[in-house]
């Protein structure tokens, strides 16, 4: 894992109005995000509430979302980690 970010549990939020259902995040980070039957992404349970490890795949998913519908937050502090404000 890269640097201190990896030591801190994260949650991922999906702006479901913005999500165009590309499925890219579910391919990059299948352990963190899945495509719902309605064609919108949703965080898997642990990434939706308690928080879990920030993997390379998840960081990539956030960076490559074509519509910037994904945001990473610190599970403890609540503040946003990525994308930068």
């Amino acid at each position: 894992m890269t640097g201190p970010a990896g030591t801190e549990p994260v949650v991922v939020r999906v702006d479901r109005d913005r999500c165009i259902g590309s499925g890219m995040c579910a391919l990059s980070a299948p352990g963190s995000l899945a495509l719902d039957a309605d064609g919108r992404a949703r965080p898997v349970a642990e990434y939706a509430d308690a928080g879990a490890e920030l993997t390379d795949g998840l960081a990539e998913a956030v960076e490559y979302c074509p519509v910037e519908a994904l945001a990473l937050h610190s599970a403890r502090g609540g503040y946003r980690i990525a994308p930068a404000e």
């Binding site: 165009i20 590309s22 499925g23 890219m24 064609g39 994308p83």
Partner: protein, 406 residues
């Protein structure tokens, strides 16, 4: 089917075509069977939710449209039928290819280009005003703007606009040209793409082609054929659709929708809202005539809108009628031009193949409409709508020329 139509010229003895904002749409309803111009059966999908499902559901794809057992889709195939094109690759292979360019097209990455795009818009308007009223707004504005933008992004300083127009018209031809003419033009266009790639490998710069080549080299799985198709695909997609949209937006705004012109000039927020509504309500092409929607093929039985569509079927997602679905959208352009969309419009598609250039196109349209309205508040069409010379026999339809006065 006639092959005599030409992409330039209105033809003789034909009734005037309705402008694009007046086209009638299929009444949204459950999926129904129809036929493509090749005779291939196609399921027409028209409701907003169903269209979205067709485009996002992994049980439907683009690649199966070109599998060995696939039925003929086009009487005369064009650039969109190239199996090496990003549009026709699915799943992780598609994702790897798309990642070579995706970062350059996210909303933030595109926003960085805004001041530069605005300066191109202003200088084109300066030139238009210098030419004097009346002038052709297609030749002076709606065509050169997107060409300048994609050329700059891709670092194509010496792109000859005549050759580009020739390639693009052939690339998106349905009935305008023969298979042979399209084949010749696409071979030349691919040679141009290969040349650009060779140049950038020898002498990389800050442009999109250099960065996508670096990303592809790092990935290692992308073929040369896919790279060429991507480069020439970006050149065509990057200007043709934006030019079409802008031209048709002006046909609407300088005539039926003229009362909105002043408000478009007032602020960028209004122009942004109007851009979304125009993209929603004014289609790019004649669905009924050329292509009933965005095509997909089922890889297994799929239930869509209460109908089971068998494995191996061709499905057309009619984004034009989904964009007018009364279940989600109310009101028409005249009353809603500056209102936020009630639901996401599907003009840029959805799912894995959602338009790469959506944010770039939006920005160009917004700036182009806002700045033109601000600089030329009295702008109007110089000739009646019935006299418009349309580009014909292509997947998209827009004015070949549009005389305006101020």
């Amino acid at each position: 089917m006639s092959t005599e139509n030409s992409a330039t010229g209105a033809g003789t003895g034909t009734a005037p075509l309705p402008p694009m904002h007046c086209l009638r749409h299929l009444e949204p309803g459950p999926p129904r069977l129809a036929a493509l111009p090749t005779g291939t059966p196609v399921w027409l999908v028209s409701r907003h939710a169903d269209v979205r499902q067709v485009l996002t559901d992994p049980r439907l794809g683009r690649a199966p449209l070109y599998a060995p057992d696939a039925p003929p889709l086009m009487v005369t195939p064009n650039i969109l039928d190239d199996p090496q094109s990003m549009l026709n690759i699915d799943g992780t292979e598609h994702q790897r290819l798309r990642r070579t360019v995706q970062r350059a097209f996210t909303p933030r990455a595109i926003a960085r280009w805004k001041p530069w795009v605005a300066s191109v818009v202003e200088s084109l308007i300066d030139e238009l005003i210098d030419r004097g009223s009346p002038a052709d707004v297609v030749g002076a504005y709606t065509r050169p703007l997107p060409v300048a933008v994609i050329s700059r992004l891709m670092g194509l300083d010496n792109l000859d606009s005549k050759r580009l127009a020739h390639w693009s018209d052939h690339a998106l031809s349905t009935t305008a040209y023969s298979a042979e003419a399209i084949g010749t033009a696409m071979t030349e266009f691919a040679a141009f793409g290969a040349e650009v790639i060779a140049d950038r490998r020898a002498d990389p710069g800050e442009d999109l082609v250099s960065s996508l080549l670096a990303a592809a080299a790092e990935d290692g799985s992308i073929t040369e054929g896919q790279l060429i198709a991507l480069v020439i695909g970006l050149v065509v997609a990057g200007h043709e659709t934006t030019m079409t949209s802008l031209g048709n937006a002006l046909v609407y705004l300088l005539q039926d929708g003229h009362e909105a012109w002043q408000r478009l000039a007032s602020d960028e927020t209004s122009a942004a809202a109007a851009t979304e509504q125009i993209l929603r309500a004014v289609p790019l092409g004649d669905a009924a005539e050329h292509m009933p929607g965005l095509l997909r093929r089922t890889v297994e039985d799929v239930e869509i809108g209460g109908v089971v569509i068998p494995a191996g079927s061709v499905v057309a997602a009619d984004t034009g009628s989904a964009n007018q679905d009364p279940e989600v959208f109310t009101g028409d352009l005249r009353t809603e031009l500056f209102s936020p969309l009630a639901a996401p419009m599907l003009t840029f598609g959805a799912g894995p193949h959602h338009c790469l250039g959506a944010w770039l196109a939006r920005m160009e349209l917004e700036l182009a409409l806002h700045r033109l309205a601000r600089r030329l508040p009295a702008l109007r069409m110089a000739d009646p709508v019935e006299d418009i010379d349309w580009r014909r026999g292509l997947l998209t339809r827009s004015p070949n020329a549009l005389r305006v006065a101020w």
